[in-house]
């Protein structure tokens, strides 16, 4: 059996097999819990899958190392948090359960329709892979510039800083050229 530390490390690398194992190991517990609320099976699975996505994101951001509970407990906690949000959205206000852990999660629904976000989604994918990686490490994985120096083998923080600025400038120019 893998230790939580190892699972955490593998999840941060998106190890497909480990991710699938975590998915399968905890699905039954979550589904059994969520079924009490008379939701369609597809909704329950969708919520569980979102919880897994959040778990991977937190692993990539290094947040799992700060946990004071098992990864499976945390995953179920995220799932419950998302279930609660879903029930509230469906106007099912009486939810007789507590979420034992604190979960930081913004589903970003409020920004998805913004034109600039939409354009950035598209043109980010048009950047070279190196720019995508730097920006992903900084803005998604929330790595500090010093960590990016080590991860991508740069000489120092200033080089990363300038490279990151160039990538952002390039992204702006791409959008302005096509939508100016």
């Amino acid at each position: 059996m893998m230790s939580d530390d190892l699972i955490q490390a593998e999840l941060s690398l998106e190890n497909y097999k480990v991710l699938e194992q975590v998915y399968r190991d905890n699905k039954g517990v979550f589904v059994a819990f969520a079924k009490k609320y008379n939701l369609p099976d597809e909704d329950i699975i969708d919520i569980y899958q979102d919880a897994i996505v959040a778990l991977v994101e937190h692993a990539k951001k290094g947040k799992l190392s700060e946990l004071n509970c098992a990864i499976s407990t945390y995953l179920i906690g995220i799932g419950k948090f998302m279930l609660l949000k879903h029930l509230k959205k469906k106007k099912i206000m009486f939810v007789p359960f507590d979420i034992e852990i604190s979960v930081e999660w913004d589903d970003l629904e409020h920004v998805q329709k913004e034109q600039q976000v939409h354009l950035l989604q598209i043109y980010f994918l048009k950047l070279g892979s190196h720019c995508q990686k730097i920006l992903e490490l900084f803005y998604y994985q929330e790595k500090k510039l010093g960590d990016i120096v080590n991860a991508l083998g740069y000489d120092n923080k200033d080089v990363v800083k300038s490279q990151k600025s160039r990538c952002i400038k390039q992204l702006r120019e791409l959008i302005e050229t096509n939508h100016g």
Partner: protein, 239 residues
């Protein structure tokens, strides 16, 4: 004060007290700085949306039916094994008798045209993700097309994405991934499912599984033109 340092410090949470004061000062009084911060916040959000869509697409693949074993199932397993062995022997026999699957694949495979983007273009939505996905598909940049198609599938629940992702994977010679995606496209039972069925047969050929391709094309009558006749022709070669 170095504005870039302040912006970076804001995002990586390393602003000192004096830098935080300078940051707030600029935010309130420097329009350009405020706009730059908003741009970067949107960039952060857009990367999150893309990454989440990509990871969710991976996670969705885990969802396969799992049936608990029972005593009855144990007997069923033996029967199924016997049937599998029989079919395997038949398949081996057919394999030795028929043309190589790779040769048949070359003969029958043609890229499926982009039939999605032209209709979207008429909406004058020249910047849509759909158009960008299909522009990449038309340029035969299939890896890039897949990236966009996955996002489309997640965000807009497009009913054609699985078909095109499957075809992109065939083009990239990722036949296992192609089979998996095309099976899903067939199961969707929508406008594109019959087309997906034909390409699934071809993906099986590409993956050296002519017996599974035969299972599909033996029902060539259920397919639609232009694939019906091709499927009949392939069936005659495989049987």
């Amino acid at each position: 004060m170095d504005k870039e340092r302040l912006l970076n410090g804001y995002f990586d949470n390393t602003l000192t007290a004096s830098e935080l004061m300078a940051f707030n000062e600029l935010l309130n009084n420097d329009e350009h700085f405020a706009e730059e911060l908003a741009f970067r916040k949107n960039l952060k959000n857009s990367i999150h949306i893309n990454e989440r869509a990509r990871i969710k697409a991976t996670v969705k693949q885990f969802e396969k039916a799992t049936i608990k074993p029972s005593l009855q199932r144990k007997y069923f397993t033996w029967i199924a094994a016997a049937i599998t062995i029989t079919f395997t022997l038949i398949a081996v026999y057919q394999y030795t008798q028929n043309p190589k699957p790779s040769v048949l694949f070359q003969e029958f495979y043609t890229e499926y045209p982009n039939i999605i983007s032209p209709s979207e273009r008429s909406k004058n939505d020249k910047d849509s993700l759909i158009q960008i996905a299909f522009a990449a598909y038309d340029r035969q940049e299939f890896k890039e097309a897949i990236k966009h198609l996955i996002i489309l599938q997640e965000q807009q629940k497009t009913n054609y994405s699985s078909l095109y992702i499957g075809i992109c994977n065939i083009e990239l010679k990722n036949s296992v991934a192609a089979i998996e995606t095309l099976q899903k496209a067939v199961a969707l039972n929508n406008t594109y499912s019959l087309t997906a069925k034909w390409y699934l047969a071809l993906a099986y050929l590409q993956n050296n599984q002519p017996d599974l391709a035969l299972e599909i094309v033996k029902d060539f009558n259920k397919l639609e033109e232009p694939f019906k006749q091709e499927a009949e022709r392939l069936y005659k070669k495989l049987k």
